[in-house]
């Protein structure tokens, strides 16, 4: 299986630049401008409607960690990295089917579920590498601008995106069992993630229907840069992702791979 993982990572090596660099530079920019906007922000946030602050998890923006969470980690980074994950996963399955690679691989003595497992593992590694580049550039921005971002909180905040991305990849595996068209896989998973985000948002805004949040992975995402990683939520999302991926692999094993 390691041969498949390495091959997949080699095929996707450009994502470190195409995803890690923009996300890292954007994050570094957010951190770097914090010292110059800090006082104005505090005043602005004080005037925000409380429902808005509640919906987007904005407490105060007195620290660079709070600002990084509000600007990057609450919405942009999880959605962007989750989308990267489903793209990476799709490249291993639907993309491979479209390019003909899947036919060639499945002519060799390797089972379908190993191909799925390799694609999922390679996606997990790729996402981790992109997040590592993002973290490194973010810290660089902080050091250069003297923003004072702590490595521990930044690591926790950025690492907390990883389970969410795995969950997106797992959904991608499940969808791949029904369609091996990349546009269908990425589109439906992106749609599901946005729907979950909206569900979580609505649940936060209206306490009367807060129960709907349980159906959204974003309920368990939290605010790790400020509160630290919740080990239960982190492990729980990873476990659910692995379970969904395993179910997807089982379904994929039983599906037809059309020419």
């Amino acid at each position: 299986m390691s041969a498949l993982v390495v091959a997949q990572l080699r095929e996707r090596r450009r994502s470190l630049l195409s995803w890690g660099l923009p996300l890292g530079l954007w994050s570094a920019f957010v951190v770097a401008i914090f010292p110059s906007v800090e006082s104005a922000l505090s005043k602005a946030v004080a005037n925000y409607p409380s429902a808005l602050k509640e919906a987007f998890g904005i407490g105060q923006l007195n620290t660079v960690e709070q600002y990084l969470h509000a600007e990057m980690l609450s919405l942009i980074m999880p959605l962007a990295v989750a989308y990267l994950a489903v793209r990476a996963l799709a490249s291993a399955l639907s993309g491979a089917a479209e390019s003909g690679r899947l036919d060639v691989l499945l002519s060799a003595p390797v089972s379908r579920h190993r191909v799925v497992a390799a694609g999922f593992a390679a996606t997990a590694v790729e996402v981790a590498a992109v997040l590592a580049v993002t973290l490194a550039l973010t810290m660089l921005g902080s050091v250069l601008a003297g923003a004072g971002l702590g490595l521990g909180p930044a690591l926790a905040g950025i690492a907390n995106v990883w389970p969410l991305a795995l969950f997106a990849a797992a959904l991608g595996v499940a969808v791949s069992a029904f369609s091996l068209r990349t546009s269908v896989v990425t589109g439906s998973v992106a749609g599901a993630l946005v729907a979950m985000y909206v569900l979580d948002l609505v649940g936060r805004l209206d306490p009367g229907i807060s129960g709907v949040r349980y159906a959204s992975v974003f309920k368990y995402y939290g605010n790790a840069i400020e509160d630290g990683i919740d080990p239960l939520a982190f492990a729980g999302i990873v476990a659910v992702a692995v379970a969904v991926a395993a179910l997807g692999a089982w379904l994929f094993d039983r599906s037809d791979i059309a020419a």
Partner: protein, 299 residues
């Protein structure tokens, strides 16, 4: 119990919802045999191959390769086969050598000497990304990936599409060598000439159904030879039409055109009774044979 067959299908069917894929395909390929699988586009050749490879799951019937169930034992089967898909691809940025390295690891093959030797023979560029290669050059890489590990069964779907005539010759030579080695070959094609040259037996598939399986020589015999004769004077075509095996007689002045199947001796004797100016005796092409079966199946 006889020797294990390379391929054996029984009532193999594949339907896509209500649409037809293949229906009740029953055939067998012996070990060391080159089996041609003929049919036009959409007849069900690729569906049959994909079902054998467990890429598609049969709606009914079964397929066994080397006595192993194509569904349950697919991984063990794939350790013993080589497959060249109809339109070989692997990924635009990957080179043939990178693809080879992955497949060699999956197959547990250490050295790449045979692949490199085949690359030299077919003038295949294993170093360039596949996305930069023409279809024919990609196909050469696919062929190398299908045979480098010396499989016991080669499944080739339209293998020569895109190859230039010289490389087609080289390919046919390679198929012959693989057969000499004891490898069975399942060759799907609509290049009838190549099937005629390398195959022991041929299956003809039409609208998803296998309509004939014959030895190539028998197929040719059934369709008969085309004969065109020019006599010194006018002749009565009815005299020839009366001879057993003669059909499709056409007269055009002093020329007669007809088809003869089976024993040609009575025909030669009948022709020799008159002064013959010119005589052409042509073996039918497999295409004509194929069309004959198609017409028979359609009627």
């Amino acid at each position: 119990m006889g020797p294990v067959k390379a391929i054996e299908t029984s009532g193999l069917s594949k339907r896509y919802g209500g649409a037809r894929g293949i229906e009740d395909v029953t055939l067998s390929v012996e070990a060391g045999e080159v089996f041609g699988f003929l049919g036009p586009n959409g007849a069900g050749k690729t569906t049959t191959i994909r079902t054998l490879l467990d890429l598609l799951h049969p709606s009914a019937g079964s397929a066994a390769i080397f006595g192993l169930d194509s569904r349950r034992d697919s991984v063990a089967i794939r350790a013993r086969i080589g497959n060249l898909p109809g339109d070989f691809g692997y990924g635009k940025r990957t080179s043939g050598r990178e693809a080879l390295a992955v497949l060699a690891k999956l197959r547990g093959v250490d050295g790449h000497e045979r692949a490199e030797e085949l690359a030299r023979r077919f003038r295949a560029d294993l170093g360039r990304p596949l996305g930069e290669l023409s279809r024919g050059n990609r196909q050469k890489v696919g062929l190398i990936l299908a045979v480098f590990h010396r499989p016991e069964l080669l499944i080739l779907d339209e293998p020569t599409s895109g190859l230039d005539p010289l490389m087609q010759e080289e390919f046919l030579a390679l198929v012959g060598e693989e057969r000499e080695r004891g490898c069975a070959v399942f060759l799907s094609s609509h290049e009838l000439d190549e099937v005629e040259r390398v195959c022991d037996r041929v299956g003809i598939i039409r609208d998803g159904r296998l309509i004939a399986v014959e030895r190539v020589a028998d197929l040719l015999g059934k369709t008969g030879r085309r004969v065109e004769v020019e006599f010194a004077g006018a002749v009565d075509p009815a005299e020839l039409s009366a001879i057993a095996g003669v059909s499709a007689v056409e007269a055009d002045g002093k020329r007669l055109r007809f088809r003869v199947a089976g024993d040609v001796d009575p025909v030669v004797k009948a022709l020799a009774a008159r002064p013959v100016v010119d005589l052409e005796f042509a073996r039918p092409t497999l295409e004509e044979v194929f069309l004959t079966y198609y017409e028979e199946g359609g009627s």
